[in-house]
């Protein structure tokens, strides 16, 4: 018997064609000039860009016999669909680079970009950058410091634009194809936002680079600040407007931190070579300005944006444990008496009445970094790469699903359900287990929020390269045998989900980083 999707309609077939064509027209003029110790490089340019997508889809059902798939064979046409969208950009740009005696460097750029996605009066944005560097090590007064190979101070500031939103995001639109009762219909599809303009991203980078002791130690210390003004964001709006969201330039925020990078080569002999590299970065996020007092992130309701706060701060109901008397889960809520908040907190057993708070830390790690070791001994090589992240909080949705306490009969459970409350007086943080449980104990709350700090050996590779003179006899140029282990060890504060989560700190349904072992052979002829 035939079976499968579309069996009941004697087969369902579709054909579609999607064509993306991008045309870029770019004109640039460059000018290089060096005289004495001065060196100039100037660039002027213009660019026009157009990308279009052309799409057609047709579907039909009712195929005469198995094996036929062309739509002409089908007896009933169903859905047809087609669209054509485009986006255009028009840009003018310039750049100037200058250096004097390869000691002092200066560069600047200026550009004006127009994008078709923005409101009529806001299509163009102006962006610029300036940067400079001073190779202090080249100054005469340091020429005689023999242990100093390089000392360089650099700084730059630049802005750029972001227009990565829907192609017609600023226009008020009625959508076609909203047909009813055999009549063609249209309905309101998108609110207009004529004020929509470029999101401006700025980058400030100040750094000191150094290399000492003939390359034995080198590194860099830098401060970065990546600012965003007028962040393009799908802002939730009252649904009485007819819509849930509107693309706006919602907020301004800064991401900033300090980055330290160190490379060392403590041992280097003919047979043995050891390289160490270490880096650590601090991360902070701060929202500076918003067009409304607060916004719950529409894509991730566990975060609330407020001025002065961070977009990564958790915003959740706070779990207050289990009531020893009846085993039901509790959460905290603000006490309200006669419509007035008393300032006290009380517990509630109704999840939806619990108050959401935001003092549970951030999904953004305080520090991230890596530690890398490379060894070489004669024909052997060994490298170990370790990554760490500390200070971020993660939310284990998957574990939460497994702790449903009997709400979803027949669904998987974590063994931790064995610790659930069973009789009055039991002290446990796992609520009672009852069939068709409606306590909502595993609904989103701090119950499943954990310290996301972890350290993971991302990669270990051991290799052996055959000597050249051995290979010549068999007419090969290289031959290396290696064994690689990816993610072999992880030390995590919270066991369960893959601690390497997205910036939101939420488990997604991505495949976690798996342990992989590879045995390989590289042969060059």
């Amino acid at each position: 018997m035939e079976h499968g999707d579309g069996f009941s309609v004697k087969g369902r077939g579709y054909r579609y064609s999607k064509e993306d064509v991008t045309v870029t027209f770019q004109n640039t003029l460059t000018y290089n000039k060096s005289f004495n110790l001065h060196s100039f490089n100037v660039l002027l340019g213009q660019e026009a860009y157009r990308t279009k997508q052309d799409y057609t889809y047709a579907q039909a059902t009712g195929f005469p016999f198995p094996g036929t798939s062309e739509l002409i064979a089908a007896s009933t046409p169903n859905t047809t669909q087609s669209y054509y969208t485009q986006k255009r950009l028009s840009s003018y740009f310039s750049r100037l680079e200058y250096n004097y005696d390869t000691k002092y460097y200066l560069s600047a750029s200026l550009r004006r970009d127009g994008s078709s996605v923005f409101g009529a009066d806001h299509k163009y944005g102006t962006f610029y950058s300036v940067g400079g560097a001073w190779r202090i090590g080249r100054e005469d007064f340091l020429k005689n410091v023999t242990w100093l190979d390089e000392l360089k101070l650099r700084g730059s500031y630049g802005t750029s634009g972001n227009d990565r939103i829907e192609r017609y995001a600023s226009q008020g639109l009625y959508s076609l194809g909203k047909n009813y009762d055999g009549q063609s219909g249209i309905n309101y599809f998108q609110l207009p936002n004529p004020d929509l303009r470029w999101e401006e991203n700025s980058t400030l980078d100040l750094g000191l680079e150094f290399a000492l002791f003939k390359g034995k130690l080198s590194g860099e210390v830098s401060y970065y600040k990546r600012g965003s003004k007028g962040i393009l964001f799908s802002q939730p709006v009252s649904q009485l407007t007819g819509f849930r969201n509107l693309t706006t330039n919602l907020a301004s925020m800064d991401n900033y931190g300090v980055e330290v990078l160190l490379n060392a080569n403590p041992v280097k002999t003919k047979d043995f070579d050891w390289n160490i590299s270490f880096n650590i970065t601090s991360n902070k996020n701060k929202i500076n300005k918003m067009t409304q007092a607060e916004v719950i992130d529409a894509d991730d309701a566990t975060k609330r944006w407020t001025v002065g706060g961070s977009r990564y701060d958790w915003y959740l109901r706070e779990y207050a444990g289990v009531d020893q008397a009846d085993g039901r889960p509790m959460w905290y809520m603000d006490e309200v008496v006669n419509g007035q908040a008393t300032g006290n907190r009380i517990t509630t057993k109704t999840w939806s009445t619990a108050t959401r708070y935001n003092n549970f830390g951030s999904a953004l790690p305080k520090f991230t970094g890596g530690f890398n070791n490379n060894f070489k001994y004669q024909q052997f090589d060994l490298s170990v790469y370790t990554y760490f992240s500390t200070g971020g909080k993660i939310y284990d949705t998957l574990y939460g699903n497994l702790m449903h306490g009997g709400a979803n009969v027949g669904k998987q459970l974590s063994v931790d359900n064995f610790n659930s409350w069973q009789k009055p007086g039991d002290v446990t943080d796992v609520p009672r287990f009852v069939i068709a449980n409606t306590d909502l104990g595993n609904n989103q709350s701090t119950r499943f929020l954990y310290d996301g700090s972890f350290m993971r050996v991302k990669n270990i590779t051991l290799g052996y390269t055959l000597k050249k003179n051995w290979l010549e006899t068999i007419h090969l140029s290289t031959l290396r045998l290696y064994l690689t282990a990816e993610n072999p060890f992880t030390l995590a504060k919270h066991k369960g989900m893959d601690p390497e989560s997205a910036l939101t700190g939420l488990t997604n349904n991505d495949i976690p980083n798996v342990k992989t072992f590879t045995l390989g052979l590289n042969v060059g002829f």
Binding site: A48, R88, Y168, D181, I186, L191, V237, T241
Partner: protein, 484 residues
């Protein structure tokens, strides 16, 4: 040598011209328009577009998470119907059945969201029709239709999200939005229940007077449909005289269909249909329709049942009892039909889902109008009139040949029971319990798997305003219904 130079110059100039043509020197280079949408500014620029925009409002109401979902929810929250929460039900309507919806319940969220969409689309008509390039007669017609749709939507909203009028007309209702609401406009707060009812009546009366008599399509707003909605609204307000008057007006041209139609008449319109949703095979309605949940053959969700008490309330000779006859399989001979109880209530065969998934959805029948008239007249003390109206329904069902002998409260209860039998599956029961201040009480039921007892006025009988709305609307934020 000189020629080469000329060629070169020509080439440069040519390139430059190409550049000028292609790029930003032209101001409109950056003006682009989509092909799948039209600019909202153009919507009210021609009759054809305005007609399409009106059709588009009806299309919003066909969304499976909206009208169909509200009907099923109102059934499953009443006492007569229950849901079997098996694996193939995917937890649908289980929260509504148990009265455990939270402010993040997606079904309740869709009622709110799609109501907002219908209101916003109707308000576009209210704002733009006066200046549209169409005749005055056409303007009035479109305004009447738009306001009727707006009123019908508000009637759903006010019954879900506020205490019933019969409990407290001064309670917080829902926000009245009379004109297009922009994203930067101050967000509205909740108006009183009685003010929302006044707003609904104002819209409906305008529509009743101004919708042309030629609009008789049962799948769109007609004078009869508007009068029927008015009858319902007045019934909820306890204005019995107007409820009865409008019920009679609404059914005037819509005679009751035959008894036989009680077994076939819920997918295709019969003479008594006043209003319904058109569903065609190309609408892709899928499995989330009323008929799919009531289907007894596992062709659809097939997860709705009626309780034993309700089943037993039908007399043996009641034509409507045959709505529970279920064959051993879809293809079995009709003579093998039997009442089938699966330990969890009786299977229901009122709607046909096995022939096609494209079933039209009935929203209003004149049978309901007879029952409104009967109830309103009985409550007015006009018992002979009440009994006559009731008899029309009982006669058709084959359970009575003479008027009822009941009087007073017994008569009213008889009429309400007749309503349950006639209208189950059509989204009435929960709201009937609310407006008659009976609350929802399943105590003592052996079939219901969740026993609840909520007296009239209980917080749990009112739906939560969706959290997503509260988060985006600072005025509504402190106005959530108590208990959520």
């Amino acid at each position: 040598m000189k020629n080469i130079k000329i060629y070169k110059t020509t080439f440069y100039i040519g390139s430059l011209l190409l550049l000028v043509n292609l790029t930003g020197c032209k101001k409109d280079f950056l003006e682009v328009s989509p092909t799948q949408q039209i600019n909202s500014k153009e919507t009210f620029s021609s009759l054809a577009k305005i007609q399409a925009a009106m059709t588009g409002i009806y299309d919003l109401t066909t969304f499976s998470g909206y009208t169909n979902n509200m009907i099923l929810s109102a059934d499953v929250k009443g006492n007569d119907v229950l849901i079997v929460s098996g694996a193939s039900n995917y937890n649908r309507f289980v929260a509504q059945y148990q009265f455990i919806e939270t402010s993040s319940n997606s079904d309740v969220g869709a009622w709110w969201e799609y109501s907002g969409k219908v209101i916003a689309n109707a308000n576009q008509f209210v704002a733009n029709i006066p200046t549209a390039p169409i005749t005055d007669a056409q303007k009035t017609e479109f305004l009447a239709e738009a306001r009727a749709l707006r009123a019908y939507t508000y009637f759903w909203l006010i019954r879900w999200f506020a205490q019933p009028y019969s409990v407290n007309p001064d309670a917080l209702g829902v926000p009245i939005v009379k004109a297009p609401l922009g994203p930067n406009d101050p967000t509205p707060g909740r108006d009183k229940v009685k003010d929302v009812y006044a707003f609904i009546i104002d819209d409906l009366k305008y529509a009743e007077i101004n919708l042309p008599a030629k609009n008789t399509n049962v799948y769109r707003m007609s004078t009869a449909a508007i009068q029927g909605i008015l009858a319902r609204v007045y019934l909820n307000m306890g204005n019995w005289a107007e409820a009865s008057r409008y019920a009679k007006l609404a059914r005037a041209g819509k005679s009751l269909s035959s008894a036989a139609a009680l077994l076939t008449g819920f997918n295709t319109p019969t003479t008594e249909w006043i209003y319904g949703i058109s569903v065609r095979t190309d609408d892709n309605q899928g499995f989330l329709a009323v008929s799919s949940f009531y289907d007894p053959y596992n062709s659809g969700y097939s997860s709705f049942r009626v309780t034993d008490d309700f089943f037993n309330s039908f007399a043996a000779n009641d034509e409507r009892k045959k709505q529970f006859l279920v064959k051993s399989s879809i293809t079995a001979d009709p003579s093998t039909g039997a009442y089938r109880r699966r330990g969890e209530g009786y299977l229901i065969n009122k709607f046909d889902f096995t022939t096609t998934t494209a079933n039209n959805q009935v929203l209003m029948r004149s049978a309901e109008m007879y029952l409104i008239e009967a109830e309103a007249e009985a409550r007015l003390g006009n018992e002979p009139a009440a009994k006559q109206a009731l008899l029309a329904i009982q006669q058709r069902a084959g359970v009575a040949t003479a008027v009822s002998a009941n009087t007073g409260n017994a008569l009213i209860e008889e009429i309400l029971l007749e309503r349950n039998k006639e209208l189950y599956g059509e989204g009435h029961k929960f709201f009937d319990l609310l407006r008659t201040n009976k609350g929802v009480n399943r105590t003592g039921s052996t079939v219901h798997w969740k026993i609840v007892n909520f007296p009239s006025g209980d917080n749990r009988l009112v739906s939560p305003i969706p959290q997503s709305e509260l988060d985006a609307n600072p005025v509504l934020k402190p106005q959530q219904n108590p208990g959520y």
